[in-house]
Amino acid sequence: RGLAAGPEMHFGFQTVTEAERREKIYQVFESVAKKYDVMNDSMTLGIHRVWKDILVHKMNPSPGTLLLDVAGGTGDIAFRFINYVRSVRERQLQRKLRHHQNLSWQEIAESYQEDKSKSLGGSQVVVCDINKEMLKVGKEKAQNLGYTEGLSWVLGNAEELPFDDDKFDVYTIAFGIRNVTRIDLALQEAYRVLKPGGRFLCLEFSHVSNPLLSSLYDLYSFQVIPVLGEVIAGDWKSYQYLVESIRRFPPQEELKAMIEDAGFLKVDYQNLNLGIVAIHSGFKL
């Protein structure tokens, strides 16, 4: 909320105008896009994969779910969603087959045909990102990994989504909301595009209250990460921004209040790794 108070905003620990901030953030992600995944692995020692797995498990999507993954860039959440739905769908079909023991050959042949067209059970994920470079990397990854169906890539701004109202079952934003300039607008847009009963999930770096862990975390963040950034991605400044933006982001309770202000109900959060990361969840009821 405090961000929109005036023309002055924060970009990491600097103070800039709203327009400047958007521009700078765009440039950050433009430059890190190609090395985004590699950097994630090295900074978090691979733990970010676990965080994203936990997010999708918490979502527990059923086949037929429509997911909007905002700031989804390189597609990590989207791919996990597809894998999850595929395995749930397989289990469902197996259960159905078990109940239908006395099928004729005709019926069995039909059921196999059905399977081919509905391996995802109608689930779809739309990956939306404001940054063209990130989307490009994501599309390439999808091709390399063999994800062909149920996936679409849209260029869009979280503060002004190019979608109709009441469209999606689940809205996720993983490690993206920190970079949104007007968080309140993004939350309102999330509320708008979700169906009634839809779920908002936000995975983001948050505040560590444990003092010991907090000092270790600070040490690691400010001393190690920018160095890794320089060595691996050739970009010290972007990773300095990353670390600073984490410190400037509202803590768990404040973000929870902001989500409630956008109209979500049953808002709750779950700390991962003692608060290094938190998953916030809310429902449009």
């Binding site: 059923s62 779910t65 079952d169 509320y191 009634p196 009963g197 209040a257 109209g263 969840s281 009821l285």
Partner: protein, 318 residues
């Protein structure tokens, strides 16, 4: 920003907390200026509710709501909270009804899907869909279906209580005979167990979920209150038993009969009802035995006391 905070806090509090809202209104009054955020949010909600308008004003929580917005009217533009009070129906009536009430509605709708999907999040998702909500709202509940089962048990208990209440009224009005205790207990337990019949295939799964540590407090309390209810309606006849043994005995009868019912394949569960009849008869006899044991015990004690007095007298006389 204060207005936004106010609107947000109103929604957060839920209409259950109307009393605290009344108290805090005096503080909120000064802080309410032009509630642009409130306008925007309730405009969205109103739009959705226009499409699906069910029974918005019938719910009891409407009263709660009316008690305070009248205070707020002078401060806010008429469009302020008014839309959220009158313009919302259907599933947006959670702003009238509390989130809990919506959850109950979803769980009730989900029961229809239990025979097919079991007591699972899938059944809850299907239930939510019939109410026009996204399947994602099943995320409000645990994945193991605990809330669904507890909701069902609580519903059955309520139905049983209503049934017993009706029967009692009939007896009071002289329309029916007062049943002897064993008949009463048998009928009550049978009526309660019959409610499981539509879900009998998936009930063993439900029983195992109810035994999970995090569910035991709730399931135990539901069980004991049901048993207490039956004893309450059993009336004066129940003074044959001691209060503690009453609960234990009937709980034992109920639980064992329930387990037998899981395995019963006889037509209309007649084996189960015969088992029940035998257990209730045992329970009645046990009561007599207990009394006998007690009086025998008393007699014994008196005899011993007498013997002790005799001996001590003999001693002193010596």
């Amino acid at each position: 920003k204060m207005a936004a905070a106010a609107a947000g806090s109103l929604r957060r509090a839920g209409w259950r907390l109307h009393l605290t809202l009344l108290a805090s209104l005096s503080v909120l009054r000064c802080q309410l200026s032009v509630p642009q955020r409130a306008l925007q949010a309730s405009a969205v909600l109103r739009r959705v509710s226009d499409e699906q308008h069910k029974e918005p004003l019938a719910s009891s929580s409407q009263q709660h709501f009316d008690s305070h917005p009248t205070d707020q009217q002078p401060e806010q533009e008429p469009q302020g909270p008014r839309p959220s009070s009158t313009g919302q129906g259907g599933q947006e009536s959670e702003d009238y009804e509390s989130e809990e009430q919506l959850q109950h509605r979803i769980l009730t709708a989900a029961l229809e899907f239990v025979p097919e999907h079991g007591w699972t999040a899938e059944a809850i998702a299907e239930g939510a869909k019939t109410l026009g909500l996204s399947a994602a709202s099943a995320g409000m509940f645990r994945n193991d279906g605990s809330e669904l089962i507890l909701h069902f048990v609580s519903q059955c208990n309520t139905k049983l209580t209503e049934l017993l209440e009706q029967e009692q009224k009939q007896v009071q009005l002289g329309e029916a005979e007062k049943k002897p205790l064993d008949q009463f207990l048998r009928d009550a337990v049978e009526a309660r167990l019959r409610m499981l019949i539509p879900y009998i295939e998936k009930w063993p799964q439900a029983l195992s979920v109810l035994l999970l540590p995090h569910n035991i407090p709730a399931s135990l309390s539901l069980l004991t209150s049901m048993i207490d209810d039956i004893w309450h309606y059993a009336g004066d006849q129940s003074t044959d038993f001691n209060w503690y043994t009453r609960r234990a005995v009937l709980t034992g009868v109920y639980n064992t009969t329930e387990l037998v019912m899981m395995q019963d394949s006889s037509p209309d569960f007649e084996d189960t009802w015969r088992f029940l009849e035998n257990r209730v008869t045992d329970a009645m006899n046990m009561g007599n035995t207990a009394n006998k044991v007690q009086s025998t015990g008393e007699a014994l004690v008196q005899g011993l006391m007498g013997a002790a007095v005799t001996v001590s007298n003999a001693e002193t006389r010596r």
